[in-house]
Amino acid sequence: MKLLVAVKPTFDIGQLKFEKDGTPMLDACPVSLGEADKCALEEAVRIKERLGATVAAATVGSSEAHYKAIRDSYAMGADEGYLVKADDPWRLDALSVASAIARVAEVTGPYDLVLAGSGAGDTHASVTGPMIAGILGIPLIAGVDRLEITGPGAVTGTCKLEDGSYTYEARTPAVVTVTSEANAPRIPNLRAILRSKGMQIREMDAGELGVDLRRLEPLRVGRYEVKRKGVIYKAEDQKGAAEASASLLAALRSEGVLS
C-alpha cells in the first residue's frame, strides 16, 4: 500500500502576541507540525506497521518550519518526503495548497490513501482535505476519530459530526482527514530523530508541477476586539459567593436572558 500524508507547520496560537496596534507577531510565535497532522501521520504509520505500506509526507512551503515538518514526519516513521517550494507560505490560499498536494499525489503516486489533519490549529479552515478529494475526484471521509483498512481496496472511518456519529466505508483511493482526538501520536526516540536528519527531502517546483500558487492579500489583520461588558464579581468566601450569585442573577434578569 502507498499512503501520502499532507502536513504543515502550525502556529501555537495560544502563545500568539500582538503589537500595540493589534498586528499579530507571527515571527515570535512558536510553530510546529500540526497536532491533527501528527495524528494523520500516526494513523499512516500504524497501517504501515500492521499491513505494510510506504508512507510519504508532503508539504507546501519553503520556510525552515516546513523542512522541519518533513523531518519530524520522518522521525515519526515516514519513508519519503516531498516539499513543494513556496516563499511566504503562510499566506497561500487553501485551493493552491490543495492543488499542489493533489499534483504531488499524481506525480509520485498512485496512492491508496491521501491523509491529512482534519483542521490546522491556527487557521482551522478544514477545507484543504476536502479540496484534495475534489481535485482528485475520489471519495472523502472527513474528520475521522477511528480509521481502519477493512479489506483490499476498502477503508472505514468513523466521524463525530454535529448531529451524531457517522461510519463511512469508501473504496480506495480516498482522502481521509484525521482529528486530533483519533490517537496519541508517538513521540520519536532519539535514534529516529537522528536518522531523520540524514534523510533526503525531495524538493519540487510548483511551476513544474503545473500549479499556480496564489496568496491571500488581507486588507487588514488585527487582534479580535472583544465587545463584552466584562463585569467581574469577586467571591473570596461563601458570603462573597452568595452576594456575587445574587448580583449575577439580578444582572442576567435585567439583560432579559433569565426568566
Binding site: L16, H124, M131, V231, L252
Partner: protein, 305 residues
Amino acid sequence: MRVLAYADSGSWAAQLASAADAQGGDAAVFVPGRELAEAAADLYPEVYFSELGPFEPVSYSAAFSEAARSFKPDLALFPCTNKGRSIAGLYSSAAGIRSATDAISLSARAGDSPITVRRLVYGGRAEAEFRMNAPAAVCMAQGSYPERGPRGGRGGIHEVRAPGPASSVDFRPRRGEGVQPDEADVVVVAGRGIRSREDLELVKGLARALGGAWSVTRPLAADQGWADSWIGISGLVVSPKLYIGVGVSGQPHHVMGARGSRIIVAINKDPGAPIFEECDYGIVGDLYVVVPELLKVLGGKGGGR
C-alpha cells in the same frame, strides 16, 4: 450579487437568509430533503433540494453543485460547521473558486474583487479582512447573522438530481439527555476546573435550574470521555442567549465555539483565566462554592431543585 446558500437546518437557512439579504440581489438556498425545502420556501424566493440519505460530503456537494449550475451564484454561502466546511471545500475545488471560512461579516458590491469578508483567524484571536473575486465560497460563523423571519410569499421549489453517495454510510444520531446544547437558550459548560465525572452533576444541576442544556470543553469529552460532544471549533458551535462557563479557562478553540452567545458568563477561581477577557459577567471564585450558592438563589424562586 446572486447568493446561493447551503443549509441543513431551519436555523441555518434563516441565518444565511439574513446574510444573503444584506448583500441585496437574488437569493436562493439548497437544502437536503423536501421537508426542509418546504420550510425554506418562506425564507427564499428560490429553493433547490435533493432527496439525499444520511450526510455524505461528496454526494451532498455534487447536489449543491447541480443547484449552482442552475442558479449561477456569484457567492455561495455555507454554515461554518464540520459538514459545511467539507461541502464548501469540495464545491470550491470543483468550481475552481476561492473559499473563506469563519466569516463574521460580508459585504458585496459591484466592480472588481467585489466581495469583502471579515473573518476570524488564529483560533479567533485575530480577525482579518479580505477581498475576493466572484464567484467565491464562504463559510459563515454561527450567530454572525440573526435568523430572519418569513419574507411573505412562497418561493419556488425545484428538485435537483443527486448522485448516489461516494461512500456507504452508517449514521448513529447523537444521544443526549434532555435539551441539546445547540438548541438551548441557556448552555452551561463544564471545563477542567471540574475535578471528577461525579462533579459534573453540579453543572447539570445548574443547567436544569436554568432550563438549559449542559456541555463540556474538549478535554473533558475527548480525553476524559465524560461526554459525547463538546463546545468548540472542532465540536459544537453554539449561540445561545446565555452561556455560562464553569471552571472553563477559555482556550481560543473553545471560545470560538461560543462566541455567538448573547451573554457570556464565566465562573473560575483564576482571575487571570483568558475567559474573563471575553465575558459579560464573571465571578472570580471557587466553582465548588459559587455554583451551590447560585443553585440556592435559583432554588428560592422554585426553578431549581
